[in-house]
Amino acid sequence: MKIVVPVKRVIDANVKVRLKSDGSAVDSDNVKMSMNPFDEIAVEEAIRLKEAGVAGEIVAVSIGSDACQDVLRSALAMGADRALLIRTEAVLEPLAVAKLLREVVAREQPQLVICGKQSTDGDANQAGQMLAGLLGWPQATFASKLDIGADGATVTREIDGGLEIIAVTLPAVVTTDLRLNSPRYTTLPNIMKAKKKPLDVIALDEFGVDTRPRLTTLGLAEPAARSAGVRVADVAELLAKLKNEAKVI
């Protein structure tokens, strides 16, 4: 079974994002970039399926500028077999990403696509579900456990009320939640090996897919900052403030 894992390059989760001084865009100059954390979980899950003898080849795919080669190399160093960069300078919306991934699926014919549930920059939480919809495949989102059987997958999903276990037929799209696994660290020998693994670059135009944006950003703003309040000396003062000043208890 072949698995496709889409991985996005995003601002690292530890960076406190700010706008450029003119407010036109998020300031990404000299900012640490990383693989979207949910996509690391997706790569890890694919590798575990391979190690368990369930999966054969793992293909990591990223859509973006040449700089995305670094997250693809990370995926290869973790254990993916091949990588594909769909090169574009444009920042694509999830619908466009899903349409390109549909083309990748048509070429690669995987049985499973494992996406992250959400990219931590755009916070859209869309592309996996959109891809499943475009392909007419079932979807198992927010997965915290994945079992592949002979005739389908059983997936435990994190939902607002707790957990839900569903069965889906294959091929399917799965999206990862935080508790699915803890991604492995890459080791130096594996980073070296990853340099020799195939990484194909294809220009976006070659796909002939309509990727025009559907949303127009009219403006960006930083939310009003909360001002730090006061320190209280002890529990008695805290309760007095909550009762008499804030009037919340």
Binding site: T120, G133, G161, E164, L239
Partner: protein, 310 residues
């Protein structure tokens, strides 16, 4: 122009986020229809019909809508969507699961997690863990939108909309609900509670969360947690507050043994009053706290409980 709201419910009762979603839809200045798709779901449909601002409830009743799984539900919504200018659902795990599938099958984009309606096509949504607010305009013929419930006060309950039964679509047979393991609690729902008491890694164990339970019981509060507390297995996954968990905005949020990472703040900084109890005076949580208490939680929380008990 008419908006179609996808109701979230468990067949017997409507989830409250549906009423917040209708409140957002009312800002659009359009007619409002609500789709209740479920199995033996007439009780939920009747509740939807009572929500203020609803013009009509469409009820699709079939076994294969019982669990609200995305494939069958999306197909039903798509088959109806051409009659609508907007399709909205709450930005809950339910809405986040179904709606992007609908959008893709309609070949339109989705606007996720809106916190403000500026015009029928223009919305505000947080990105980058709420550190940036983006004002966006949707240029698609049908606007597909998920709504952050805490940003819109729930619509009232004095409506009397008619309920129209519609024919269900086919069972596509791609997915099946096998089981649900729901967290049962007599406390208020995390996303609706007026007071939330949240614990982090500082609690050290699930057993120690009993301390927070005792505090929550005194305050009539719900219990939340940081990712670290969930990952460590102290509490179930649905307690997680944050960028990739639940968004809460209670009157009072008490963060206990939580450092205040960006991802946690994203889920609670809309709270009216924030209290932080942390033994590290430098913890970032103090930068957003209205009242900060630098203390060992194992001392401060029992003191709070006994003071409140009097």
């Amino acid at each position: 122009m008419t908006a179609l709201i996808i109701a979230e419910h468990d067949n017997d009762s409507l989830k409250s986020a549906t009423a917040n979603t209708i409140a957002a839809a009312r800002r659009l200045g359009v007619e409002i229809h609500v789709l209740v798709a479920g199995s033996a779901c007439s009780a939920a449909a009747e509740q939807a019909a009572r929500l203020r601002g609803v013009g009509k409830v469409l009820m699709a009743d079939a076994r294969h809508y019982e669990g609200g799984l995305a494939e069958n539900l999306a197909a039903l919504i798509v088959s109806r969507a051409q009659a609508y200018s907007h399709v909205l659902a709450p930005a809950t795990t339910f809405g986040k699961n179904v709606l992007p599938r609908v959008a893709a099958q309609l070949d339109v984009g989705q606007v996720s997690d809106i916190v403000e309606v500026l015009a029928p096509d223009t919305f505000v949504r947080p990105i980058h863990a709420g550190n940036v607010l983006a004002k966006v305009r949707s240029d698609d013929p049908i606007k597909v939108i998920t709504v952050r419930a805490t940003a819109f006060e729930a619509t009232g309950q004095e409506g009397t909309a008619p309920i129209e039964t519609i024919a269900p679509g086919p069972d596509l047979g791609m997915s099946r609900l096998l089981a649900r393991e729901l967290t049962h609690s007599s406390r208020p729902e995390l996303t609706e509670a007026k007071i939330v008491v949240s614990g982090g890694r500082g609690l050290q164990s699930g057993e120690n969360f009993k301390l927070l339970e005792a505090l929550a019981d005194r305050l009539g509060a719900a219990i939340g947690a940081s990712r670290a507390a969930v990952d460590s297995g102290f509490v179930p996954n649905d307690y997680q507050v944050g960028q990739t968990g639940k968004i809460v905005a209670p009157q009072l949020y008490i963060a206990v043994g939580i450092s205040g990472a960006i991802q946690h703040l994203a889920g609670m900084k809309g709270s009216r009053v924030i209290v932080a109890i942390n033994k590290d005076p430098e913890a970032p949580i103090f930068q957003v706290a209205d009242y900060g208490l630098t203390a060992d939680l194992f001392q401060a929380v029992p003191e709070l409980i006994s003071a409140l008990g009097q």
